[in-house]
């Protein structure tokens, strides 16, 4: 095997689902000892492609080659037997079983009568764990490990076989910086052993740090492969979204109204401490920080979903306590939550009912819900937000992500809040809807709403905010105005070194 024989090659993979062509002739190859990034927007087909590769889906057409040998992936076991290993984004571990049992799940060593051969199991596992230099052993119960250590268990699983190709699917989503370093070392190690690595991630910084080549998918189609060293973020983004997304910095100047919400020294246990900030009418306040920095938790506290352990909330000059979402809504705070499907929508309900849910008690004629009042609200916000749905009777679960998000936003706008909090406004939605939602947020501020936007995407925060608050480890590190903020200073602030830099 020479270096230019691909470890893994895909040729013309097609996969259709009823009504959707999820993969449309995807071809690319991974060389041994190469880290190959696979990029694309959500819904571009990355996860479908990986499921085809893992034998969970059968392709309608196309071939898979391993070491240039055509291979049919009939099921997960086949993939494993052929040396294709996955490290899943969502941890696929059984919490009550030991580390060793998880690593060898599906192929526990056996003795007579179907008994587990524990000695072999534990000694094999400990040998693998030694390579990873982790602080737990084969007998540890997985549920007792931190998320990062659980991720290491997933990685250890990939090392049990003589892997030809290892696929990392968003592996750093829940890792700390120190843990990332360990992960990157492991990847480096695999690389040296001549394993081909597919690395799926949205984080440009990591992509440029560890990958050799980048392949891009868009709408189920293969758009090309680039040498990492010879490209830049813009080029990749262009390929991913097919056109450039306007993420120019926000420099508009809007007349600000009075302070709508002021928060002083708000804390909630170890989740966040001593948060002090204010937001004015006509202003978009951005919150930026890593997942777990406490941004979402502040929003949840303001919405009455968490009980603050200290601090004051002053709404329109008046100190208030908010102990439930019902109270928050009554006092004029609305929250478009982080997770559309889990927190934002009742997926089995129709569009109209979802939109009017918080106020259905007020839309009545006598004791009954007034159909007319509901439909008029729905129509109003459908037009205003340009929601594309066949009818108000359509089940929300059947809409695209962007339209679903607009339903959630419409739901809260129709409550006419004083303060609108939007957590991750564009997570998992297509580019077109993304810029529509950005424009909408700016528009709302112009109309005099006080808007708080929480986002993990820096361009988004920079694009929509008048001011930006950077958070790290539950604390507000720094506050920037749109004029003074730079990408560097923002990154510094959310990495916990802002104090020195500022």
């Amino acid at each position: 095997m020479t270096a230019d024989t691909p470890a893994l090659r895909l040729e013309g993979i097609v996969k259709t689902f009823p009504g959707v062509r999820a993969l449309d002739g995807v071809s690319f190859s991974v060389l041994p000892g190469e880290v190959h990034a696979l990029m694309g927007e959500n819904g571009a087909g990355k996860s479908t492609l990986m499921k085809v590769l893992g034998g969970i889906y059968q392709p309608d057409a196309g071939k898979i080659f391993i070491d240039e040998r055509e291979t049919e992936m009939k099921g997960p076991l086949e993939a494993k037997a052929n040396g294709v290993m996955f490290i899943h984004q969502e941890l696929s571990l059984a919490q009550e079983l030991s580390v060793a049992e998880n690593i060898y799940l599906g192929e526990l060593p056996r003795k007579s009568f179907g008994r587990v051969d524990w000695d072999t199991l534990y000694s094999r596992t400990d040998a693998i764990l030694a390579k990873l230099k982790v602080g737990f052993n084969a007998r540890t119960v997985v549920g007792e490990l931190s998320i990062a250590n659980q991720q290491m268990v997933e990685i250890a699983r990939a090392l049990t076989v003589d892997a030809k190709a290892v696929i990392f699917d968003e592996p750093t989503a829940s890792l700390t910086d120190a843990e990332k370093v360990v992960l990157f070392d492991v990847i480096e190690d695999l690389k040296r052993q001549g394993v081909g690595i597919i690395y799926i991630s949205h984080r440009m910084e990591e992509i440029f740090r560890i990958t050799d080549r980048i392949s891009v998918l868009r709408d189920g189609e293969y758009r090309g492969t680039l040498e990492t060293a010879a490209t830049n973020e813009d080029e990749i983004t262009q390929m991913m979204i097919g056109r450039s997304l306007d993420l120019s910095r926000n420099h508009e100047h809007v007349e600000l109204g009075p302070v709508a919400l002021r928060v002083e020294g708000l804390s909630c246990g170890h989740l966040f401490q001593d948060a002090t900030f204010e937001v004015r009418e006509g202003e978009v306040l951005g919150f930026y920080g890593l997942v777990g920095a406490g941004r979402t938790e502040i929003a949840e506290t303001l919405f009455g979903l968490r009980k603050p352990t200290a601090g004051r909330i002053i709404l329109k000059g008046e100190e208030v306590t908010i102990s439930s979402p019902i109270e928050a809504i009554r006092k004029g705070i609305s929250l478009v939550p982080e997770s559309r499907k889990e927190q934002g929508l009742v997926l089995g309900m129709n569009c109209r009912d979802n939109m009017t849910l918080p106020q259905v008690g007020d839309l009545t004629a006598g004791p009954f819900v007034s159909d007319g009042a509901e439909i008029s609200i729905y129509d109003q916000y459908r037009d205003r937000l340009q929601i594309k749905s066949p009818s108000w009777r359509t089940t929300v679960g059947n809409l695209s992500g962007g339209n679903q998000q607009k339903i959630v936003i419409g739901k809260w706008l129709s409550m006419r809040p004083e303060v609108l909090i939007v957590d991750e406004p564009t997570r998992g939605i297509d580019v077109g809807s993304k810029s529509e939602i950005h424009n909408l947020l700016r528009e709302l501020a112009k109309q005099g709403y006080a808007v708080i936007v929480i986002s993990s995407e820096m361009p988004e925060v920079l694009h929509v905010s008048d001011r930006i608050i950077a958070m790290y480890h539950g604390r507000i590190m720094r506050e920037f105005t749109a004029a003074e903020v730079t990408e560097d200073s923002l990154i510094h602030a959310i990495s916990g070194i802002a104090g020195d830099a500022a």
Binding site: S92, A94, E96, N102, R115, V116, E144, H270, E300
Partner: protein, 333 residues
């Protein structure tokens, strides 16, 4: 971490602590209030207790396995009755009668096969249709009960064979056959669940089904096997019981499913699957039977036993949740 260990200890030990508490309480209460002139913790009494808990106990062991898998089986009571009927009725068939006592093992075999087949039907339906086990076995609970009635109308089925009764009432060290069968089932299934690949896979599937599928475990056949197991155990329970009693009523075994589930939950098995233990279920079964006997011992109305067990079940659930709370920082949803 320290805290977790304590919690774990409390959780796994709670049922046994409760059993000890009951033993002491009923012993002391029995003497103190002179409600009873005999000792409660008497060896014969305890051996009898094991025998009496056998019918529900054997089924509860099977239920534990199915629930660790993340499924449930509501049809066990009807399976129990049907297996009993097949066993006793088959003894009346001419060719079986001609065989004399040699027909006994054959009758047992017929009963056990009946249980396995009924379990197989449930398992295959769950596997192939993808309908939730709760609904499948809820339907089967009605359907199998219908079969019970169709067999012999509303009449009881009986056959008294003294050899069979002798076997059922034989004892080793004071332990009667049903108790021995029960303990053997506990031991074997415990070994299966802790030592074998099948047992470990059962936990993995209940805990994280998708992970198990991704690891190449064939979930469908695994489910089927466990439904066959619980069908077999329900039939075994019938064999152990009806060999001695010699008569089956078509309404026998009603509510057995609920008693078995109660014992399993008391023993610490999680409803959503992935966690549970055979030994815990043994504890749950003993605790329930102890309560029955104990309340009788101190002269309380035996009727109150249902009240007490129901209350305890809810209390256990409440305590379990309190132990798992994350404290004040919890999201209020």
């Amino acid at each position: 971490m320290q805290n977790d260990t304590v919690k774990k200890l409390v959780k796994n030990g709670a049922i046994w602590a409760f059993i000890v508490f009951q033993l002491v309480f009923f012993e002391v209460a029995g003497q103190w209030w002179s409600l009873s002139d005999s000792a409660f913790m008497d060896a014969d009494n305890m051996l009898l207790l094991l025998k009496q808990s056998a019918p529900i106990g054997i089924i509860a062991i099977g239920m534990t396995v199915v629930m660790i898998n993340g499924n449930i089986d509501l049809s066990v009571g009807a399976t129990y009755a049907l297996a009993g009927i097949v066993m006793l009725d088959s003894m009346n068939w001419p060719f079986m009668e001609a065989m004399g006592d040699a027909a006994i093992p054959l009758a047992w075999l017929f009963a056990l096969v009946t249980g396995c087949v009924l379990g197989l039907i449930n398992g295959v339906v769950v596997w192939k249709t993808g309908v939730d086990a709760f609904i499948v076995t809820l339907g089967a609970m009605l359907g199998y009960r219908g079969l019970v009635f169709m067999y012999n109308g509303e009449n009881p089925t009986y056959h008294l064979n003294w050899t069979m009764v002798d076997i059922a009432e034989a004892d080793i060290l004071g332990l009667q056959t049903p108790a021995i069968v029960f303990l053997a089932v506990v031991l074997i299934v415990w070994l299966v669940m802790t030592r074998t690949v099948h047992g470990r896979n059962a936990y993995a599937i209940g805990d994280n089904r998708e992970a198990a599928v991704n690891a190449g475990i064939r979930v469908g056949p695994h489910f089927v096997l466990n439904f066959v197991l619980i069908g077999f155990l329900a039939a075994l329970s019938a064999v152990a019981f009806y060999s001695g009693s010699g008569s089956v009523n078509p309404n026998d075994g009603m509510l057995f499913e609920l008693w078995a589930i109660t014992a399993v939950v008391l023993g610490g098995t999680k409803l959503t699957g992935g966690r549970g233990s055979i030994i815990g279920t043994l504890g749950g079964v003993i605790a329930i039977q102890l309560l029955r006997k104990g309340l009788g011992h101190i002269g309380a109305d035996t009727e109150t036993v249902n009240l007490v067990i129901g209350t305890i079940l809810i209390a256990v659930l409440f305590l379990d949740r309190q132990l798992n709370r994350k404290g004040a920082e919890e999201l209020k949803v």
